[in-house]
Amino acid sequence: MDEHDALIERLAREARPVRRLPAPSLRTAGWMAAALPCGFLASLLLPRGSFAWSGPGAPWAALGLAASLALAALAIRTAFALSIAGERPAHGRWLAAAAAVWLLAALAGVTGSPDPVGHLGDGVYCYTFMLVAGLPMSAVVVAALRRTRALHPAASLAMAGLGIGALAQLLLVFCHPVAGELFDLGMHVAAAATLVALTVLGGRRWVRL
């Protein structure tokens, strides 16, 4: 008798029918449908700025919004795919392209601003907004990834954190002037990086196998 037979017999006794996972795209859509309202409701805790799609920066803001949505969907789908053993997410180039488009649109928006550089301290509201909107979404993604667990939790959670950063940015667009400043843009990036770090640090314990 093989030395692992006792363990195998025990595992088989515990084996019950399992519910298979939906495809990563469906999981992504379901997650976004659940997480976006959470982020939006959390963002209501903060005073909302004025929102006007006018001025020369408006097309760039719209492009940035579309890029944020694409980046969020691709990153979350990649996070779900990474959590499954043997899955090879093939969206690396599209992710990089979406991130590049978002950055270019943001920089183009900065050039249309009357004060392109801004001042130290600009963007504190944006940073706070993104964290307040992003943290509930981070909890939702950890709960979703906990269902599958992950062989490589750090990679999966980092990708999920990137997607949450992009979604928080998307929500921020609706209460943010279309023309930005460099300091403000830096705070957006810092908030996304903070969300990635918090998602990895906070979720690792719950997601690892």
């Binding site: 093989d2 363990l7 595992l11 088989a12 084996a15 298979r20 959590s83 053993a85 599958t148």
Partner: protein, 175 residues
């Protein structure tokens, strides 16, 4: 695997038993000259398969799914072994040169406690910790699970693997 996912226990047993030599072969390609660690990885892979069996997609080939699990578990085991070897120092001469005189019978002849310590030193950290909680501090399985912030089934599996490792160690020394 599809039948195992549907709850067919007999099919699940056949599958896991058939996988043991395959997994062992895969693990040996990554872990050299350490059969005990390879067997630990085999058990870890069996437990992992059990825990994530719902993530296998029947529309996809089985082998890449299995290979990814074995690779991740083997790397985890190698990292854990590396950490142990980096932090733990085993200096038998120093231990014999400075006996603990506060322990009756520790000087001169090997004490049971020292033999026990030697045996437990061969276990990975988590397995040793669990043996200490359950068998030395006489905690119940549930208490040990609570004390180590883990699940009951994880406690059982750690103890099972610890006893397997100790048994293998005993057979190597006396057999």
């Amino acid at each position: 695997m599809v039948r195992a996912q549907d709850g067919d226990q007999a099919a699940y047993v056949r599958l896991l038993k058939a996988l043991v030599p395959v997994v062992r072969g895969m693990a040996r390609r990554r872990i050299f000259q350490d059969d005990a660690l390879v067997e630990d990885v085999v058990q870890d892979v069996l437990l992992t398969i059990h825990r994530v069996r719902h993530t296998y997609d029947p529309a996809r080939p089985f082998l890449p799914w299995l290979t990814a699990i074995v690779a991740a578990r083997a790397i985890d085991a190698l990292r854990a072994r590396g950490r142990r070897e980096r932090w733990e120092i085993c200096d038998d001469e120093a231990v014999l040169a400075y006996p603990d005189t506060s322990v009756p019978g520790a000087h001169g002849q090997p004490a049971a406690a020292r033999q026990l310590d030697d045996l437990l030193a061969h276990l990975p950290d988590r397995q040793r910790h669990m043996v200490e909680l359950v068998h030395l501090r006489e905690m119940s399985l549930a208490e040990a699970a609570a004390a180590s912030s883990t699940t009951l089934s994880a406690v059982k599996s750690l103890l099972h693997r610890a006893l397997q490792t100790l048994r293998r160690k005993g057979e190597t020394e006396h057999g």
